[in-house]
Structure formats: structure tokens, C-alpha cells
């Protein structure tokens, strides 16, 4: 005898249904957001600029030290690992190119996005979730204020402008990490390292880096805000919202990065 809930088929089906419903709410949210974005473009004066600058400061400036540190160390790590291998073949001269391209095209955008998920994405979900639980979101709706405009647009503008800047700083920090390895491990002169890096790392890689981080900014902000707005009732629900934000964001960053990697390598950088 099985209780109805006990069969694996019922469980699988119900979970699938639940995920389907959640995805549907996300698509609805994206629709509302698009109309809010369109309205913001038409009436820029109605954007809450004070909030926007606040989030720029929190997501951008405040995150700069940790971002640079992590990207620098990532540069050191891949630089060191590569140097050990390259030395075996006497191919040390490829180190600057290897580190530069990896950091700028992949590592820095992804690292910065993961840090932003932890710092900003989860904070967005917690902030909006708390407002949901304390009926502030309800109050907004009855006062004719769309949560998408009031709560999401400032965060979105802040993230889409600040994340690319952080990423450029991260790119540079990562290259410096590789350079440290070049100097201390391979005794490469500074000007040689610099010249080789410039030769390998094309400016369009920086554009790729910036473009990617803008997409990541959009992904992190929309997921964080959506989870926040979907918060159930009670304080526990806020914790659940932040956890699910981090999990979904990291998953989506990797998925989107894979798609973008194919996209860039097949469409833009074919030789």
C-alpha cells in the first residue's frame, strides 16, 4: 500500500509542476520589468536616482577591494599552475597571453559575478523579501506604485553600470596576478611581460568581458528581485529567498557563460 504522496512518480510530477509554476512567475516578472524599463527610458526623471546612486555605491565602490583581491589571486593561481607546465616545454613566453586571455575573457567576469551574487543578489532578495513580509510591497501596490519601477529599476541600473566597471578592474588585477608569477617564478622582465600581454589580449576581449558582465548583472538583479518578491510569509521565508537566490544565480551564471562562450567563439572570434 502506498500513500498517494509516497510514489516517486507523484513526487516527480508535483515537483515538475511546482518548478513550472515558478518559471511562469519569473517570466511574468520579466514582462512587468520590461514595461517598467520602457517607462523609465521614456520618463528618466521618474527614476529614483537617489536609490540608484546608493546601490551604485554599495554594489560598486564597496565591492571593489574584495573583487580586486579575488581576481588578483585568481591570476596568481592560473599563472602559477600554467608556469609550472609551460616551463617543462620551455614555453614560458606564452604565460602572459595565457593568463591575460583567460582572465579577461572568462575568469574575471565570472568571478565578479559570483562575488556580486553573494554581496548584491542575496541582499536584494533579503531586502525585498523583508518588505514583502512586512506588507510594504502590498502597500506599494495599493498606492499605485509598481514594485518593478520602485524597487527593481534602481538596482538594475546600478548593477548594469557598476558590474562592468568592477570587471575591468578585475581584469587588470588578474593580469597583475599573472605578472607577479612572471616576475618571481619565471624572472620575466616587466617590459617583456607587458609587451606580450598587449600583443595577446586584444581590446575586443575587454569588450567581451564588459558585455558578459552586463548580462550577468541583469541575471543577478532579476533573479534576486524576483525571489524577493516571491517570498512567502514569516521570517524563515526571507532566509529561503536569499538561499534560493544564490543557488539559482550561480547556476544561471554558469549556464549563461557557457552559452556566451559558444556565441563569442563561433560568431565573433572566428578566424
Amino acid at each position: 500500500m502506498y500513500k498517494r504522496q509516497d510514489t516517486i512518480f507523484v513526487q516527480t510530477g508535483e515537483t515538475a509542476l511546482l518548478i513550472g509554476q515558478e518559471v511562469l512567475t519569473f517570466i511574468t516578472f520579466l514582462g512587468e520589468l520590461s514595461s517598467a524599463v520602457w517607462n523609465a527610458i521614456r520618463h528618466p526623471s521618474r527614476i529614483r536616482w537617489k536609490d540608484t546612486f546608493y546601490y551604485m555605491n554599495v554594489c560598486g565602490a564597496d565591492g571593489l577591494p574584495i573583487t580586486m583581491l579575488i581576481c588578483f589571486l585568481s591570476g596568481v593561481i592560473i599563472g602559477y599552475q600554467a608556469a609550472v607546465q609551460l616551463q617543462k616545454y620551455g614555453a614560458e613566453t606564452f604565460l602572459p597571453g595565457l593568463v591575460g586571455c583567460t582572465v579577461v575573457r572568462e575568469l574575471a567576469p565570472v568571478m565578479v559575478a559570483v562575488i556580486a551574487t553573494g554581496r548584491a543578489g542575496s541582499a536584494f532578495a533579503a531586502e525585498i523579501g523583508t518588505m514583502k513580509v512586512s506588507e510594504e510591497v502590498d502597500a506599494m501596490i495599493t498606492m499605485g506604485i509598481e514594485p518593478a519601477r520602485f524597487l527593481v529599476i534602481p538596482k538594475l541600473i546600478a548593477m548594469i553600470t557598476m558590474l562592468p566597471m568592477l570587471t575591468v578592474f578585475g581584469d587588470i588585477a588578474g593580469i597583475l596576478g599573472g605578472w607577479a608569477v612572471g616576475i618571481f617564478q619565471l624572472n620575466m622582465p616587466l617590459d617583456v611581460y607587458y609587451q606580450t600581454t598587449v600583443g595577446w589580449v586584444k581590446y575586443k576581449y575587454f569588450l567581451e568581458s564588459i558585455f558578459k558582465s552586463m548580462i550577468f548583472a541583469y541575471v543577478i538583479t532579476t533573479i534576486g528581485c524576483w525571489r524577493g518578491l516571491r517570498t512567502g510569509s514569516g521570517a524563515v521565508a526571507v532566509g529561503k529567498a536569499t538561499t534560493s537566490t544564490v543557488v539559482i544565480c550561480i547556476l544561471m551564471i554558469v549556464v549563461v557563460d557557457a552559452i556566451l562562450a559558444c556565441f563569442f567563439n563561433t560568431i565573433f572570434f572566428t578566424r
Binding site: E136, T142, M143, G144
Partner: protein
């Protein structure tokens, strides 16, 4: 305010409302009308659907079936822009106050005016001060909600709900968590608001003192029947209701001997 409405229509009309969440029915086939200018309390045991009813009345959730009209206009079957108009005709003070934490008290009260009217900043400032002094918070306009006490937040929420001089005011458990004196002064405030503005006021509350002080009428919901089990003057219901649960509820759990004669 609200000059577009037909004066002969009741403030609120609920027509065979069935409401629930995710397929779970909380209220079934509920109908009532609230005439203009009445103070009505909605009561009932915990979890019977008082807040659910309130949130449907203000159009936050779509009902499963049935209709709700505010000042003669359906809030269920209206377009987004019509709904925005209807929402200007009522103010809501939520159970938790729900003042926006990033704004000062004065900015909170000013927000509905900035959103819905073309008033000049000076005019808005003047009205904000008016509303704040009505709730005795005139000197606290520059403070953030996090620096106010629970009772002050409740009164601030009253001021914000009244920002547009709405024809209807909804209060969800205004006195929950307040000391008896604050709660009594809140009751006086509700009576004063009606005297000054003639507004229709709907209050969800558990406070028996406040029910008997302010309410012209009490509507009692029940979880068992998913509907209204009593509707009338609070004192009449207390003394003469035919439903034992209603009498018990309004007598703080003590059932007095049933007074013979008429039952409601």
C-alpha cells in the same frame, strides 16, 4: 475627491465572493454591503480569513469568483488604469504599519500625493504637516520608521492612509500590540477621522473595547462555515445573537444566560 462616483452606490459591495490561495478556499460565497460613512469592524477567530477578505477588498488578490465594487466600480473586472483610479479612493493602514523603511515619516505620507496628484511640493508639505498633526506626530516627520515606536508607526500608517483624503479607510488590526492607552487613543482618532471627513471605515480587530467604542456594525467571519456568521450592531450581537459562539466571542469567552426575547 472621487467626484466620478455615483453617490447612491454603497461604499463597498461584495457579491458572492469566493476567495482562497492556490486552490485552497478560505471564504465561500460571501456577500455584504457597507453604506457610506459607516464604521464596520470585521472580526473572527485567528486564521478565519479577515486579512484575506481585506486584501481582496483592496484588490491585491483576484477572487476565485464573485465581484467586489468600491464606490460602485468593480475592482475585479477593471483594467489596470481603472484600478489605479479606484485605489486613489481608499487608504489602507496595514497590520505591520508597512511604512517604507528607506523614507522618512514625512516622505512616506507625501508619497501617495506625489504619485497620484499634481500638487506643488509646498502644497504637499502643508498637507503632510496637517496629517501628521492629526495623528500627533507633527514633530517626527524627519525620523525614519526604524526610529519610531510601534504605536507611532501605527499612527504614521494612519497618516499615510489618509494622505489623499480617501472616501474609504481600511485598518488591519490597528491596536494589535499596543498598550491600552495608545489603543484607546487610536479609537478616538478613528472616530475623529470619521467626524471630520465622513469617511467609511473598515477595521479588522480583536479588541472588544474598541469594537464597542467605535463600530456601528460588526461582521463576524467563521473558519468552519467559510463565511459570515453574524452581522449587526456589536452590543446587540453580544446580548442577543442566536449563535452561541458569537455571544461567547463578544463576552470574552463567558456565556451569560441567554436573554429571552428576540434573537438576531
Amino acid at each position: 475627491m472621487a467626484e466620478y462616483t455615483d453617490q447612491s452606490e454603497p461604499a463597498i459591495r461584495v457579491d458572492s465572493l469566493t476567495a482562497g490561495y492556490d486552490g485552497r478556499i478560505i471564504l465561500e460565497n460571501v456577500s455584504f454591503e457597507i453604506p457610506r460613512g459607516q464604521i464596520v469592524t470585521i472580526l473572527g477567530g485567528s486564521g478565519c480569513g479577515k486579512s484575506t477578505l481585506l486584501k481582496h477588498l483592496i484588490g491585491l488578490y483576484p477572487p476565485v469568483s464573485g465581484d467586489i465594487s468600491i464606490l460602485g466600480r468593480s475592482i475585479v473586472r477593471s483594467s489596470e488604469s481603472e484600478r489605479r483610479k479606484i485605489m486613489q479612493s481608499f487608504g489602507v493602514a496595514y497590520q505591520s504599519g508597512a511604512l517604507f523603511r528607506s523614507l522618512t515619516l514625512a516622505q512616506n505620507v507625501a508619497l501617495p500625493m506625489e504619485e497620484f496628484t499634481d500638487l506643488s511640493p509646498e502644497e504637499i508639505q502643508k498637507r503632510v504637516n496637517e496629517k501628521l498633526s492629526l495623528v500627533q506626530l507633527a514633530n517626527f516627520g524627519e525620523m525614519l520608521p526604524s526610529d519610531l515606536s510601534g504605536g507611532m508607526i501605527k499612527r504614521g500608517a494612519f497618516a499615510r492612509a489618509m494622505a489623499l483624503d480617501p472616501a474609504i479607510l481600511f485598518f488591519d488590526e490597528p491596536s494589535a500590540g499596543l498598550d491600552p492607552l495608545s489603543s484607546a487613543s487610536l479609537d478616538q482618532l478613528i472616530l475623529e477621522i470619521r467626524r471630520k471627513t465622513g469617511a467609511t471605515i473598515v477595521v479588522v480587530t480583536h479588541e472588544l473595547d474598541s469594537i464597542f467604542t467605535i463600530a456601528d456594525r460588526a461582521i463576524m467571519l467563521s473558519r468552519e462555515t467559510k463565511g459570515i456568521i453574524a452581522d449587526g450592531k456589536p452590543a446587540d450581537l453580544r446580548d442577543h445573537s442566536g449563535n452561541e459562539f458569537v455571544r461567547k466571542f463578544l463576552n470574552r469567552g463567558r456565556i451569560p444566560a441567554v436573554s429571552q426575547g428576540h434573537t438576531l
